[in-house]
């Protein structure tokens, strides 16, 4: 398993756990005077705790020619701060039996430490230090920029399907920064400077642009004072610049072809859809379940099982997003089958959703799956914190508490209505990977 695949599995788990908590979220929310939001959730089933800090900054906040800045800065956050110099950070975490890591998306950058319950304060000390006192040493910057270029080579340059998806995204959005890859374009990476990063850090890394989420085996009454002790005195930063970009309504299908040395063709089609802040999100999530969740789902059943024209097929809804993003449908073409045939078969399933109501069984199944995911997601403190962090960073964590009820209320007509409203040819961007053999 490459790390990339691991990553996808992780994301998938988060996806399938989209329904966590329901009404009884038992989350306490505190906003410190410097604007830092703190979400605490006690969970005593296992003697562990996860500490996460979420900054509202990602590719969405970047500029043309300077893409990849948020992600590179995330790397630099592990290269030393005032009290924990170079190489210290992960070593301190590991010496205390902890695991740490971070991730950057289009909308956020998040850092986490997972520890045995009694080590929680170490995470606070480390995160508070690097929120204000990052070193950003020029030499370390140059070397880490090379590391990120290697990461880009591994994930994109040498992975034809990912390269096609990157191009598809760049085509789908024309006015909005969602067109840029989170990792950044290769040439941009080469042009980024240490001062660019410093500016980015100073602009976005401040208590008023962050949320702390702690879930696990602790006593909130004792932990909140600790959070205040470590973060309370950090001064509020200036107001974060607004992103005014708005993607105009798409007026016709966009297509992008990527010719690359590859074994099999692949198709990714994205439809522009609203986010979780919009009431249609729930019907779209139910639709996603019916289309793609499990081997009884429509895309699997039709393309993989019955017709045997696809090696993989599915649909994903990027709903936890600050600005409207995409609902993707995709498939990998079986050897000997044509891309056109597979693409047609995907759209046939889309048309079915528009033309006929889904069955009672399918609707109930999607709701049962959401409900089971809700229960099962409570098994992991990390995912619970991750979901809270995501929701809070792009919208509001309380939205999450309504999720399950809203899913339960979805009717067949709603599914059909959203299919008709969003899954139109004019609202679609299609990426096709065409394998070529190079000399």
């Amino acid at each position: 398993m490459t790390r990339l695949k691991k990553m996808m599995v992780t994301v998938l788990l988060v996806l399938s756990a989209s329904a966590s908590f329901g009404q009884e979220m038992k989350v306490s929310e505190t906003i410190l005077p410097n604007g830092l939001k703190v979400l605490l959730k006690e969970e005593h089933k296992s003697p562990v705790v996860t500490f996460q800090i979420w900054y509202r900054v990602g590719a969405r906040n970047e500029q043309l020619g300077k893409t990849g800045m948020s992600h590179l800065l995330e790397h630099m956050m592990f290269k030393g701060s005032k009290n924990y110099g170079p190489k210290q950070f992960s070593q301190v975490v590991q010496r205390n039996g902890g695991n740490d890591n971070a991730f950057t998306s289009k909308d956020y950058t998040a850092y986490f430490e997972n520890f045995a319950a009694d080590r929680l304060e170490i995470a606070m000390e480390l995160e508070a230090d690097r929120m204000q006192n990052l070193l950003l040493e020029p030499k370390a910057f140059l070397s880490e920029r090379d590391v990120v270029k290697e990461e880009r080579r591994m994930r994109y340059e040498d992975d034809p399907t990912n390269m096609m998806v990157e191009q598809m995204m760049a085509t789908a959005f024309s006015a909005h920064p969602y067109q840029w890859p989170v990792i950044g374009w290769m040439a941009d990476l080469g042009n980024l400077t240490r001062d660019d990063l410093y500016q980015h850090y100073r602009t976005y890394y401040a208590p008023n642009n962050a949320t702390i989420v702690i879930v696990g085996d602790f006593d909130a009454k004792k932990v909140l004072p600790l959070v205040k002790k470590h973060f309370g005195s950090i001064p509020r930063g200036p107001e974060v610049p607004k992103v005014g970009a708005e993607e105009p309504k798409q007026q016709g299908e966009k297509r992008v072809i990527v010719k690359q040395e590859a074994e099999l063709p692949a198709i990714f089609a994205g439809y522009k859809v609203p986010t979780i802040k919009h009431p249609d999100a729930y019907a779209l999530n139910v639709l996603q379940g019916i289309l793609s969740s499990g081997k009884s789902s429509r895309l699997y059943k039709s393309l993989i099982y019955d017709k045997q024209i696809a090696l993989y097929a599915g649909g994903d809804y990027d709903d936890v997003s600050v600005d409207p993003h995409l609902f993707y449908v995709y498939a990998g073409v079986m050897p000997g089958k044509s891309t056109e045939e597979v693409e047609k078969a995907i759209y046939a399933e889309i048309e079915r959703l528009k033309n006929d109501p889904v069955t009672d069984e399918e609707l109930q199944k999607a709701k049962n799956q959401a409900e089971a995911s809700f229960v099962m997601s409570q098994d992991s403190v990390f995912y619970q914190a991750m979901l809270l962090g995501q929701y809070e960073t792009v919208a509001n964590w309380k939205l999450f508490g309504q999720y399950l009820d809203a899913i339960r209320a979805v009717k067949k007509e709603d599914v059909q209505r959203v299919a008709k409203a969003y899954f139109t040819e004019d609202n679609r961007t299609v990426g096709i990977l065409v394998p070529v053999k190079k000399q």
């Binding site: 994301v11 010496r95 039996g97 890591n101 045995a116 080579r153 099982y305 050897p335 089971a372």
Partner: protein, 449 residues
Amino acid sequence: MQNKRKSIKLLIIIVMVAIFAALPVQVNAIEPLGKRIVLKNGMVLLLSEKHEIPMVTVSMAIKAGSVVEPGGKPGLASLTASLLTQGTAKRTASQISREIDFIGGSLSVSGGDDYASAGLRVLKKDIKTGFDLLSDVLMHPVFDQKEIDRKVKETLAAIQQQKEEPAVIAGEAFTKAVFGSHPYGKTSDDVAAFLPKLVRQDVLDFYARRYGPNDVIIAVVGDVTEKEIVSLLKEQFKGWKNAERTEMERTKPPVIGSVIVKKLDKNITQANIAMGHVGISRENPDYYAVMIMNYILGGGGFSSRLMDNIRDNRGLAYDVHSSFSAQKDPGPFRAWMQTKSESANESIDEIFKELKRIRTEPVSEKELADAKAYLTGSFPLRMDTYAKIAGMLTAIEIYNLGMDYPQKYPALINAVTREDILRVAKKYIDPDRMVIVVLGNQEKIKLKY
């Protein structure tokens, strides 16, 4: 395989290397991890009752891995495992997926080297349905010819697609060179060569010989009582016929007498590098010393020497690590990285330097203390979900570690000395006799090895 590209959602970039250390444990678990019950039919039940969440997680290990495949039929064990959920005497493949999907659960069976594994996850209220499905697929598969054809086609296509993945190609070449005709050396190319010749009788025979209660470990974690689960298992697995226990002859891995270099040409931007040889078995008494040694060498993420030297100081790679995969037989020891073509030689030089250093100089007191602190201190994180507990229970049974393993573990780790580390490094790492696989654009790589 079908879900390979399942989620591009969020396009998150996980940046650092997550450190899933090879092992468990600290002494937070005062109470025993679980209970071991041998059922009348021979099934070994490992039960951990957990009533916080109304769900049940089941993980089974069945002695039907590729090590017991008949000669000349690579891939048969995996194919058989994947066909179990594709139709039984009572249910078609579609009915099985509809039933498990309808209750929001998951059910899977898959192949492996030493064991095939089956997994089930359901809400407590659906436990009967879940076990009914699980026992049905294990006891009454029909292996319909159409389903066999479908799986063969899918598997061949998946193998073809993996040729797009440099890490897979390099990994397979490494496996082949290190293990030769030992069962751990079976590659997808071997599988692809055999599958078109496979007949239904192969699957029927393998199933009849290898699937039975006497070779099954079943770990159950979750909201269920002993009484409930024992009677449920009795009822559900009633009448399941015993499997054969014959072991297969195993060819020894080839002797590697020098550095063997395999250059594979592919038009990509990075050189994918795998270096190593046969490592150790999980039952080797040096296991704990080797794990600590490897943590310091290349298993400990940012605390490891390979990461510090090659990524942190030189910026040559995103991912560089080493691992000992300890299975029933000695599995591979492997150092692994990818770097732009032009840096391949420098990177291999540095890996060699680190391999030689750990064999000739004692590790520092601090390195050893840090490694021990991590390995013991991270134990609670290795047990913090039902699935992880089930995995731990299964490993305890397979490798005979004892239910008090969590309690014993810190002592096993803390007993290791700097001299042990040096000794095991010398014994289990041999830079003069290893395989080096380099996949990439050979014209640009200009390998000097």
